[in-house]
Subunit: 277 residues, 2 copies
């Protein structure tokens, strides 16, 4: 059966060249049974920072999420904007939307979290369409497609297999939904966190914030993904990202579980929200 | 009666020259009854990003807050670090600490918020000792001292007089305590917000975060202080800070009350947490 994937952009605009590159990759990976990839025209819309204004992005998302014509919704790209849509999307979702797969990360984590909290059992952190443009990015796109098409266990972050339940977030994006209706219940989940382009004092502040939340303190433990492109702190922060994460685990009583194979890079692995299917 | 002010640094290290400048200013402003200004040695301690490590900063704060020898605790400087101390300070405060005045802003807002939530009725957002080094900063320091020494109504943000209860925060710092025990109950408060050196998309994300919190939605309204040194957004965010704040007020049902005379500058006014005394 052909797996039917809709691509929408709840945050920033997709680079147009991604469409042809991704279609060619999918055809090459599954010559006998290529998945159907439908890039919603909204992916290329533009309104300031966003791939179209809030109403346009929310409408496109609701359209594909509620449609019987698709099995999965693949986030086109991060950037900024998915959290703006939570209250515009959730009240309009139907049972059809609950049974779909959703894949994205970074800024998309705000919306993925809200979908998971709403009852989606097949949302996951993982590469987005735009990642094909990264150095070595075809591997990221192929990994995302392998999960979307075949739920290939090789696409999963390695420690997922040992965990009852998991969730993964960009640190700043998780921080931005703490204490809001988009924050999902994560007790008993292994929480994987990654960051990019943030000063160490901000990573520290966000981890202080996140680990001070009572619900987060009930998670099964924290694994730290890659924190890349950290600008120089002035003054030097002394602690690196692992030491900072260990500090906040110790302070909050959350088990420190080590590293996670996720990050803003081509090696970013898939982490299901909840139990792996 | 001599007003006795202790200065401590829960965040970043004080510049040493501030001490002499502030003492001279106080002597000039109150020649007949100079306030007693005690700069705790911890103000000049250094540990990476901070004015001493967490234990050192927390101990100094608890010492002066609990001491009968002081009427007020003046935050030396912002930067980063006060939120780290909330759980290290609050359990150790006594009734003596509850009756003191506390003055600071910016990063200090995390600790001020926690003190207010704990029951301090005389905490306020306002200039810190380090502000004397700003261009025109003597006016800021004089305003802070006028509030600390005389509760001079001229030091207050002008709209405070019309409000039942008020609170003021740096946008990012308020964001960093949403959903944590440091977040105070702000229903019925006029909430004044200011920002410095943040991209417009981050101001937007933080305001989305803050106005999505159920308790914040019960505030009496939002006033926006100055948002200064905003780096250029790429792509252009289109909306400016006033339009962004108005958007989130409209989305969240929080009344938009206009501007506030606060910000990271020498004109920054005093805003009490709660009802003005």
């Amino acid at each position: 059966m052909t797996v039917r994937i809709a691509v929408v952009a709840p945050s920033s605009r997709l680079s147009p060249e991604v469409i042809g590159l991704t279609e060619a990759l999918a055809a090459r990976l599954w010559p006998a049974r290529p998945p159907s990839l439908v890039f919603h025209p909204q992916c290329l819309a533009s309104s300031g920072h966003f791939a179209g204004d809030d109403a346009t992005r929310a409408a496109a998302f609701v359209e594909v999420a509620n449609s019987e014509a698709f099995d999965a919704v693949w986030f086109a790209r991060g950037g900024y904007g998915s959290g703006r849509l939570v209250e515009l999307i959730l009240p309009h979702l139907t049972a059809e939307a609950r049974d779909k797969a959703y894949l994205g990360y970074s800024d998309g984590g705000a919306l993925l979290a809200a979908l998971y909290g709403w009852g989606c059992e097949d949302a996951a952190h993982g590469p987005m369409a735009q990642d094909i443009l990264r150095p070595g990015g075809e591997a990221a796109a192929a990994r995302a497609l392998a999960w979307l098409v075949d739920r290939d266990p090789a696409a999963l972050e390695p420690s997922v297999a040992e965990a009852d339940k998991t969730a993964a977030f960009n640190v700043a994006v998780l921080g931005s939904i703490i204490g809001t209706p988009a924050q999902p219940e994560l007790s008993g989940h292994v929480l994987m966190l990654e960051e990019v382009s943030e000063y160490m004092y901000r990573i520290d502040r966000d981890l202080c914030h996140i680990t001070s939340n009572a619900d987060i303190r009930r998670c099964a433990g924290i694994r730290l993904g890659r924190c890349s492109d950290i600008p120089a702190n002035d003054p030097d922060f002394v602690l690196n990202e692992v030491e900072v994460a260990q500090y906040w685990c110790a302070r909050s009583g959350i088990p420190w579980l080590g590293r996670a194979d996720i990050g803003h890079d081509a090696d970013n692995k898939v982490v299901p929200f909840g139990a792996a299917r």
